[in-house]
Each structure stands twice: as C-alpha cells, then as structure tokens.
Symmetry: C2
Subunit: 359 residues, 2 copies
C-alpha cells in the first residue's frame, strides 16, 4: 500500500430514508460515496478515517497521497484507510446537484443546510454498516479537521486518535472571505438563483470564488517568491492596461481548472458548513464540549496559514487541555500557507514523527 | 485652519489640449479638479500637496482631517494645503465617466491607461499655473504615497519634504487581490464591457470589489476584535443558512456605501495605476531612480498592514538610503491595518512628532 494505492472497495451507502439535520431540515434518500484502501481486519480495529476538505473526495490517494505515510496516524503495513465524500459535495455523495426525490429535479439552491455534525453523524452510520465500532484514527485538515474534532466530541468512544491540521473555528477574516466567495458565485448571471443546468455552471463566478480562496490558502511570502511583480508567463504586458501580472494569470488558471471539476452550489453549501463549525455550539461552554473528548488529539498549526492562523490552533489546543483532554500541538513551519499540508507532505511527516508530545 | 477647514478655492485646471501619457496614449481636453485650504503666501513656499488614495478627492479635509495636524508635514498656522483629484477618478478631474471629445460620449472602458507618473506630471503643470516652484511638502498614503515618491524622483528640485505612508510597489498578493477586484466588477452583467449608463452602475460587482478591498485595508486582529464570530447585528441567524455573520453584514454595507459614491470604471483605472507603480521603471536600476531624490523623505509603515506590509516599506527606505537619499522610516503600531493612517490619526501624529530620525 506504500505507492499509488488503489481503493480495494468503492461503495455507495444509503443513509436511512429520512436523515434529520442539525438545521431542522431533513435529507431523504441520501447516499454516501466511500472508498476503502487496504483491508479492514477481523476486529475492525485498524481503520483510519481520512476526512476531506472543501474540494476533496472519498478517493484519498488522489488528493492526499502523503496520508499513507503519516507517523502516529497510520501504520501503512496493517491499517485500512476509509475515505467518505461529505454530504453537500459533488463527488458521489448527495449534494445540491443530486436529484431531490420530492421534485425529481436537482436540489440546486433548495439543498438544505448541512453542518459538520451532520457529516460526522452520517459517517458514523456508515461505520455501523461496515462494522467499525471504533476508529483507530481520524485525520483531516481544514474542513477535514473540523470533522475530526466533531468526531472526538460527538462520538468520544469511537475514535482512539484524532489528528486535526490547520483548523479552528473560522475567524472573522475567514468568515468575511467565505461570504465574498459566495457573493462572487451569486453575482454570475449564470448562477440563476442556484437553478442552473448541470452543463451551464456559473463558471466565471465559481472561478473568481476559487481564485480568492487560493489567495487565502497560500501566503504572501510564497506569492512573492513565486510571482513577485513578474508579468504573466505567457508574455502579456501589464503596461498595456490589459496584460496581467503573473500572479493574476496564476489565479485565473486556478479558477478555470476548478469550475470544470466542482459544482457551484456545492461550493456554497460547503463554505457555509465551514463558517458554521463551532464545536461548543449546543453545549453550556466550550469546556463542556472538550471534556467529552477521549481520543488522543494532535493539532497541527501551519506557521504561514492566515486562513486558520496558528495562534487560533494553539488557542484550541489550550482550551482542550484546560478541559482535561489529551492534546498536543505541533507547528509546521512553511511558507506555503494553509495549503502546506498538501504542498509540503515531507514537512508534515517530519512534524508528526516522534510519538506523542504535549507541546 | 485648525478645525473643520473649508477650501479657500476650488478650481478646475485645464491641462494642455493634448496631454501625453506614459502608456503612449493621450488625453485630450483633460481637466484637474483642485482645492486650496489656507492661503498661498507671496513666495509660494508654504504649499503642502496632499495626494489622495484610491477613493479620495481634492477635498482633503473631508477624508483626511488629520492632515492639518501632522508634525513635520505641515505648519497649520502658516501653510496652505493643495488637494488635486487624480486623472482617472470621478471627483471632478477627467476620468472614465467624463465625455470623450472624440465621440461626445463617456470614455467608459476606452479611457486610456494612466499611470502614477502621469498623475504627478499633471499636478506639476497645475503647480506651474499656480506659480508654485517648489512644494514645501508632499504627503500621501497608499496610492497617495506612490504619487509622493514619484514626485521626489521625477521632480527632485520641486519637493523639499516627502512623506509617504503605507506604500511600496504592490507585492504579488496585492496584485492578485486587485486583479480579483477587477474581475468582480467585470463579472457583473451591468458592467456591459464598461459602457454602462451613468445611472446603471454595476453596483453588485463594485460592492464586491470594495468589500474585498476593505478586507485588505483592515487586519485579522481588528476584524476578530470587532466582529469575531458574532451574528449580524441586525439579528440575522447564520444557522438558518442565509443569515450572515456580523463581518459579512459589515462588508456588504461597505460595498453598498461605496457604489453610490464611486464609478466602477474609475475603480478599474485606479487599481491598474496602483498595480503599475514601479519607481524604478525606465531607469537602469532602482538605485538610479532613488539617487535623483533631493527631498527629505519620511516613510511610515503600519505594523498590521498586509496590503503594503511594513517589511516592504522598510526595504524601500533601505534602498533609498543605499542610494544616498535622506530617508527615515517610522512604524505606526496599530491593529487597524492599511487604514490605520485614517483610523488612528492620533497615532500617526505621534509617530511623526519629534523631528527627523534616520531609524
């Protein structure tokens, strides 16, 4: 399983016909796409749940191949990896592009509000079906890390080890940037109040949203090193008034790559989910929430992350320890910003190596 | 002149019928709107030129009242303040909303590319007209600071003291964010390739551009302190899926306030001008450009500014000193981000107090 793994199983799991949501709504006839890499053993105690971020999928090896080498998270020779596409996404699980059984047409903008807790609860039902009483490990970054933390709070006896990277409740700047990304999508006349045809996406709006998100996933230092004030590599001249600088060409390219692989309404749904993540919600206090945690938790902050600043991750680790949870904090020092967990896997491996610390 | 000053003169200055531009184009029949506060003395050696940033105007007292109190920049009892609306703007000087004499219709998207050097050269012609051989002082922040620096390079004998705040050549992140702001405007179907009617602005696109800019003018710390994860103050509930967080309501409000007072094509023109600012352009090296400077220069960086990070301002001051220019650097320590020069005038006054330092 060490190189280019293929899933042993790809499956579709039917949730109960009526799946109630935190928001008070329900999803009917919803399904989860999942993938299993390696073999679940007889005791089903070797399963690592890998939770994906905004644009990931159940096919973990495609977007995070380093996951199979993370020390303290996985034993690559004996463990099985489970990836589950989240509700609201567009990679096989029920989302806004799926058919609403009530109307026979895609949900579009009528897709109900789904929260991280709904995601985690749907995954727990899949675990029941697969006969997995307890996860050896749950790991994820960004929105994936939000799922990991909710797993540790909502199902404390079902996760032995939790590793959450570059995550905290989104701060005001992050909430603002997500809002503006949604505004960009909704500004595109092709959005049509969310009821666009599958082949008529609001491409420009989605591209603009993605480009803005990419700014927040990278760092000023990385952009400066990569692009600086260089003109676009295609040879455009900014001094003509329409020519782009290199960074603009890069951002446009990132936007264009994205709209051919992602659904605009899924983008709206998942950024809202990201905004709403608040592990203390419904508890008397954050302390009460963190007191539930039984897992050994590792939090990783990224030094140059300005979407989830390392200080916010440190604060989270301190809150967990204050509640008596076993939580260690590690910092990945990188200029790559929020994306460093994908861009610098060797550094992530290095940071996680060396057993438990309570730093 | 200490409180709520009114301009002694507001005027329109006709540039030469053909005004050549750096880009190779020309403006015909262009005009500059200017305002003078106080009285220019007989020797005309008491004039402080206040250069405005993106959305400012000649009416300096309206958007930067602190200017009349800045130590080392102005003697409020004896000096006169000159404000000049920049070409490309929409507060009286010729810009995209002005009538193109060649067509009898607004320039719209056909407004030629104007650079900071064109702005400064047009201001120098106004100074000729007003009989001002040499400015006692030129001061500005952001795009205003770009003008100040070009003044010091292009007309070294005409400016005795130059104070440039929160400015440097825009880095890659800034270039990227400006690009995305322009994309937002052009995504709005009401933009109509720049040929919208004056009363049919691309309001939503311009509001989105402004909101994104506002994020870059503030800091994460300020947003966190002001808004945190609070729901919108109007009582909206984010957990319904459409309710906004407070920061989103704030950004929307900033956008809405803006489109009623600013022209979308001016926004495009001025952000391009901002992108292109490069004091070394056309010189063999930056060293050669800075060697021209005769003014006593003060550069001010703002600790929490991520649009023009203080490190970039420090680097600029070091380059100027390496070229033999008299340049001091000061840092305004504030959580207000780029906008601190407007938001915390008392701190700016404090930073400028105490005579020349060569820090």
């Amino acid at each position: 399983m060490r190189t280019a793994p293929q899933p042993a199983i790809e499956g579709d799991f039917a949730l109960p016909d009526v799946f109630p949501l935190e928001s008070g709504g329900t999803l009917r006839g919803a399904r989860l796409r999942y993938a299993i890499y390696g073999k679940i053993n007889a005791a089903a105690d070797n399963v690592v749940l890998v939770c994906h971020a905004l644009s990931g999928s159940a096919l973990v090896a495609e977007w995070w191949p380093a996951i199979f080498s993370l020390p303290g998270v996985i034993d690559p020779d004996h463990d099985a990896v489970l990836g589950v596409n989240i509700l609201g996404s567009c990679y096989g699980s029920t989302g806004p592009a799926s058919i609403d059984p009530a109307t026979g047409r895609p949900y579009g903008n009528r897709f109900p509000l789904v929260e991280i807790r709904d995601i985690v609860r749907s995954q727990a039902l899949l675990l029941d079906f697969l006969g997995i009483a307890r996860l050896k490990s749950a790991v994820g970054a960004s929105i994936g890390g939000m799922q990991v933390l909710e797993w540790a709070i909502q199902f404390p006896s079902r996760v032995a080890r939790a590793t959450a990277i570059a995550v905290a409740p989104l701060n005001a700047m992050g909430l603002g940037l997500n809002h503006l990304q949604r505004q960009a999508i909704m500004l595109d006349p092709e959005w049509r109040d969310g009821n666009y045809a599958p082949d008529r996406q609001p491409q420009r709006g989605l591209a603009l949203a993605r480009a803005l998100a990419v700014c927040s996933y990278k760092s000023e230092a990385l952009f400066e090193e990569r692009f600086g004030r260089k003109p676009d590599r295609s040879g455009e001249d900014p001094w003509t008034g329409n020519g782009r600088f290199d960074v603009a060409g890069y951002l446009d390219h990132q936007g264009e790559k994205f709209y051919s692989r992602f659904d605009a309404n899924s983008y709206l749904a998942i950024t809202r989910m990201m905004d709403l993540f608040d592990p203390a919600r419904g508890f008397v206090s954050a302390l009460q929430a963190w007191q539930r945690v039984e897992a050994a938790v590792t939090l990783v902050g990224i030094s140059s992350d300005w979407l989830f600043p390392p200080g916010d991750v440190v604060a989270l680790s301190e809150a967990m320890r204050a509640a008596g949870a076993r939580c260690s904090y590690r910092e990945l020092v990188s200029d790559h910003g929020h994306d460093a967990f994908l861009a610098e896997p060797e550094l992530l491996i290095e940071v996680l190596r060396g057993g438990e610390k309570t730093g």
